[in-house]
Amino acid sequence: MRTRALIAIAAAIVLVAAVALSLAVGSRAIDLGTVWQSLTSYDPDSPEQAIVRELRVSRTLIGILAGAALGVAGALMQSLTRNPFADPGLLGINAGASLAVVIALSTGIATTFGAQVWVAFAGAGLAAVVVYAIGARGAAAGAPVRLALAGVAFTALVSSVTYAVLLVNDETLEQYRLWVAGSLTGRQNHDLSALAWIVLVSLAAGLLASRQLQAIALGEDAARALGVRIGATRTLVIVIVTLLAGAATAAAGPIVFVGLAVPHLARALVGASLPWLLVVSALGGAALVLVCDVLGRIVAYPGEIGVGITTAFLGGIIFAVMARRMKVVEL
């Protein structure tokens, strides 16, 4: 218990450091003193303080929002399907969001960014349900790799439909590119507080449901004996995962591997206790997305690389290491 609390505190400290970096680093480096001033005693006439307040704060908040949501969604989904490879992004939620946005763009349903956010949210949510159906029914506990492959195949399928729509409509391609390229930037002027509330409520609900979910992981009989309502808990967790993954994708664009890598690392630190795992995954996910975003600003200085690609690279390395260390059970 005490070690776990210490680890959670350490993760929180890492997150605070990542926030500081995210506010200070960029095409215009700003020292931490100025950052602090802009937060405590804002002076709109100072251009540096304006950069922090107008650009970097909202960007950092979106990063925290998406990272925490993806980390927890991954942890919950892995626990629910008892599959270490259950990551919403890996299983095709991004592809679902992209397809929904592309269809909405080409039919002229969603012309404003605000509307696109909700379309992406709906698409991601729908994909999450499909993916869960695959995860729960198709690939039981014994076949974790099959789940990952099914996710790749699902992604390939949805992407090919997306490409078909894009190929027929030239204007849609241009708008779609703007949507994909958005990442954490380009969204400062839009009100994402509704998504933030969805994430906050879902995180709280996930934390509340975690004890029941952990009991189910022990086996259904044991869970029933402990008085857990299995069906209700499962449904609740699916809804939570859908909301979290949908909100994250809608807010920050396609991000893969965060939901896979963060719970994996967190589990190595805190063990199997699901409530602690969720707390550390939320903090760690937020920190990872912010660090990746900062890395993207440093690598391509004075330009920047979107957070989607830096997380893919960093997460890909973590995934590959996971694969190498995994015990191989062959027939």
Binding site: A143, V145, A148, A150, S160, Y163, A312, A320, M326
Partner: protein
């Protein structure tokens, strides 16, 4: 069970496998005739066949069949065969019916290579893009093999490393698409879906050459492949060099996929579906290479015919249609494993 011998090459085959192979070849020939003669211009079957092998039948047959329809049909046949073969090898090596080059990173790497090439030097020629795709496919395959190598290739790690690298490559491709100008992005997108339109005899020659080099090597190791399915220890006891055979076969599979991608772009799902259908038709216990290749050719040629018959507003690359064939199969495969189905 009968054995066809040709020097040191012996192909042991069941009667049923043989019959299925013949039937598939017949279907393929029928489809070829349809591909050569169906269309707006009226061309007889005999003229179509003549023109497709270079015998002049006068205009318009010489141009329409000789320069447009025939190269397109033969490209589809050869690439389909390459994909079917590549998928059959990978599924056998990994003992996983979902493993195919389009899902374990190879096609994604090719896509990144091609899009990177378009981004750097523009979509000036299909061949420059193809070269980029081959470099991409080989680079990512080397990475995947290096990541999964631990005293030999471990099939499960191969799949996982492939998935990981595939997502990295995909993210890169998506990012590049947002960075290039919109005209190039349109070109890149068209390439990424995979298409056989506008292919020439040069494409046929390239695909034919790759297949001509690799097919004998693969068939040479067919016995090793079948024996490896029984497990490493059994294979070793039966005198198979497990590491070496697996390495050669994996490289052949990668090269076949890379060659196919270079000619047509990454056409999805053929490599997934063809070997499985071939297996089901022949009712073989293990991998069937030739029927898989024939099935791949049949599927791609048929899909391209469907693509050509669509109304003008829905003229889409063949890759979209192969996905439409692959999707139901994929769902069935996933659903079946939930009922405790084997493999």
């Amino acid at each position: 069970m009968r054995i066809l011998r040709l020097g040191p090459l012996g192909i042991s085959t069941h009667r049923r496998t043989f019959a299925v192979g013949l039937a598939l070849a017949a279907v393929l020939f029928g489809l070829l005739i349809v591909a050569l003669t169906a269309g707006k211009a009226d061309i007889s079957i005999l003229d179509g066949l003549k023109a497709s092998i270079g015998i002049s039948v006068g205009s318009p047959g010489d141009f329409i069949v000789g320069q447009v329809r025939a190269p397109r049909a033969f490209t589809a046949i050869l690439v389909g065969a390459m994909l079917g073969l590549s998928g059959a090898i990978l599924q056998s090596l990994t003992r996983n019916p979902l493993a195919s080059p389009d899902f374990i990173g190879i096609s994604m790497g090719a896509g990144t290579g091609a899009v990177l090439t378009i981004w750097l030097i523009g979509a000036s020629s299909l061949w420059v893009t193809a070269a980029g795709a081959v470099v991409g496919a080989l680079t990512i395959s080397a990475l995947i093999l290096a990541l999964s190598w631990r005293r030999g290739i471990v099939p499960l790690r191969l799949i996982l490393a492939g998935i990981a690298m595939g997502f990295v490559a995909n993210a890169t491709t998506q990012y590049l698409l947002t960075r290039m100008d919109v005209h190039d992005a349109g070109n890149a997108l068209g390439w990424l879906v995979g298409s056989v339109t506008g292919r020439t005899w040069t494409h046929v020659a390239v695909a034919g050459a790759v297949l001509a080099v690799l097919l004998p090597i693969v068939l040479w190791h067919a016995r090793a492949l079948r024996t490896l399915e029984m497990g490493d220890d059994t294979a070793k006891a039966l005198g198979i060099h497990v590491g070496r055979s697996r390495g050669i076969l994996a490289v052949c599979s990668v090269l076949l996929a890379a060659g196919a991608v270079a000619v047509t772009g990454p056409i999805g799902f053929i490599a997934l579906v063809a070997p499985a259908l071939a297996l089901r038709l022949t009712r073989n216990a293990g991998v069937t290479l030739i029927p898989s290749a024939l099935m791949g050719a049949v599927l791609l040629l048929a899909a391209d015919q469907v693509a050509q018959q669509m109304p003008d507003t829905l003229q889409l690359p063949v890759g979209i249609f192969t996905a439409a064939v692959g999707a139901p199969y994929l769902l069935w495969l996933v659903a079946r494993s939930s009922r405790g189905g084997q493999s």
